[in-house]
């Protein structure tokens, strides 16, 4: 599902399309399963980044680690999430 073309759509907004909503629900199911399999450390850094909206400097200071380490840790957490998500999606296929 791709976001509708703003010129073709009434609202042009992702949230405004039932098809996208369905896709998002499906996506969230896979993400949830993937998150369940991530370590607490990975979940923690993703929480700071996505829920608290922290930049890497803040994340680094919260975790008490250097900026470069925070960047690496976050990027690895995202990679693992992506891999796990793909694995979960393939598992769910008939």
């Amino acid at each position: 599902v791709r976001p509708a073309d703003p010129e073709e759509s009434e609202t042009g907004a992702w949230i405004g399309h039932p098809e996208a909503e369905l896709f998002l629900a499906e996506q969230r199911k896979g993400v949830r399963q993937a998150l369940d399999r991530l370590s607490t450390q990975d979940q923690e850094i993703l929480h700071y980044s996505f829920v608290e909206g922290d930049g890497l400097e803040i994340i680094a200071s919260k975790l008490g680690i250097p900026y470069a380490a925070a960047r690496k840790r976050k990027s690895r957490a995202l990679e693992r999430l992506k891999k796990m998500f793909v694995r979960m999606s393939q598992k769910g296929r008939p």
Partner: protein, 267 residues
């Protein structure tokens, strides 16, 4: 942000910039400038990889919002956690020892009904079970361009107030948006339900949550918050039905739903 120039007409963005500059997180958090957001939108509409990343991170941002924070032990050092466990273990042992010491030697028969009544949670505990610990945050749509849609304009007006914690103030614009949204394409009933619930009107919240369609991205949360609204109204039978649905979905609230079901089983 470093963007490669594309003459006077605008800017182009490349995948490397998206990755190195945390563009997706900043886009989702609304922290990009209009030019940057437009450049990214232009890019992801043509780049399958970045679009897939955006979709995944959008779903992740929403899913993480519903994940209980306490399970992450944020900011805690490992030794602090061990100390807590040690303290909890000592407390439990002392409690068990105390109960064993004080327990009467002769058992008395207590009617089952009395046991059930005694096991019912107090009014204060019920209030706690019905409380909304975490109010769902709102992540705006990913593409702009709906400026002419009156329903979307009202919805966004309401959600701005909602995001600022002004739930009672958000009710009027959201109600107006609901009236204008003839296609029922916006997640208005869900957020109206939340706004009513935290504003102290569980009956209206129940009416709104009941409108959230099944198979909607918000349906699982709608069942969860609907159960909270029923608990607030002391409608235990309906709360139980909703909690059983939440439990069966094995989502973020499944364990909490199970716990509440155990606590209200005698109602």
């Amino acid at each position: 942000m470093k963007l490669s120039d594309d003459g006077d007409d605008g800017v182009n963005m490349v995948c490397r910039t998206v990755e190195e500059e945390d563009v997706i997180e900043r886009y989702l958090a609304g922290r990009l400038s209009t030019n940057e957001a437009e450049a990214f939108e232009q890019h992801y509409l043509e780049c399958q990889k970045c679009f897939a990343d955006l979709q995944l991170q959008h779903a992740t941002a929403i899913e993480l919002t519903y994940r209980p924070v306490h399970s992450l032990h944020l900011h805690r050092k490992p030794w602090a956690l061990s100390l807590q466990w040690a303290a909890a273990t000592v407390a439990v042992l002392l409690l068990v020892a105390g109960v064993l010491y004080l327990r009467p030697h002769e058992k008395t028969q207590v009617p089952a009904q009395q046991i059930a009544a005694a096991q019912r949670p107090s009014a204060a505990v019920l209030e706690q079970l019905a409380a909304v610990d975490q109010i769902p945050s709102y992540i705006p749509g990913l593409i702009r361009g709906g400026e002419t849609n009156p329903a979307l304009i009202k919805f966004q007006e309401g959600m701005t107030l909602y995001s600022a914690g002004k739930y009672a103030d958000a009710l009027a614009p959201l109600k107006q948006a609901e009236g204008l949204d003839s296609l029922q394409s916006l997640p208005i009933p869900f957020y109206l339900g939340i706004a009513y619930l935290v504003s102290g009107d569980p009956q209206e919240a129940i009416a709104q949550f009941s409108k959230v369609p099944r198979e909607n991205a918000y349906s699982e949360e709608a069942h969860w918050y609907l159960s909270k609204a029923y608990l607030k109204s002391r409608n235990f039978s309906s709360a139980r039905t909703e909690l059983q649905t939440v439990e069966s979905l094995h989502g973020a609230h499944s364990a909490a739903a199970h716990d509440i079901l155990q606590q209200i089983k005698n109602y």
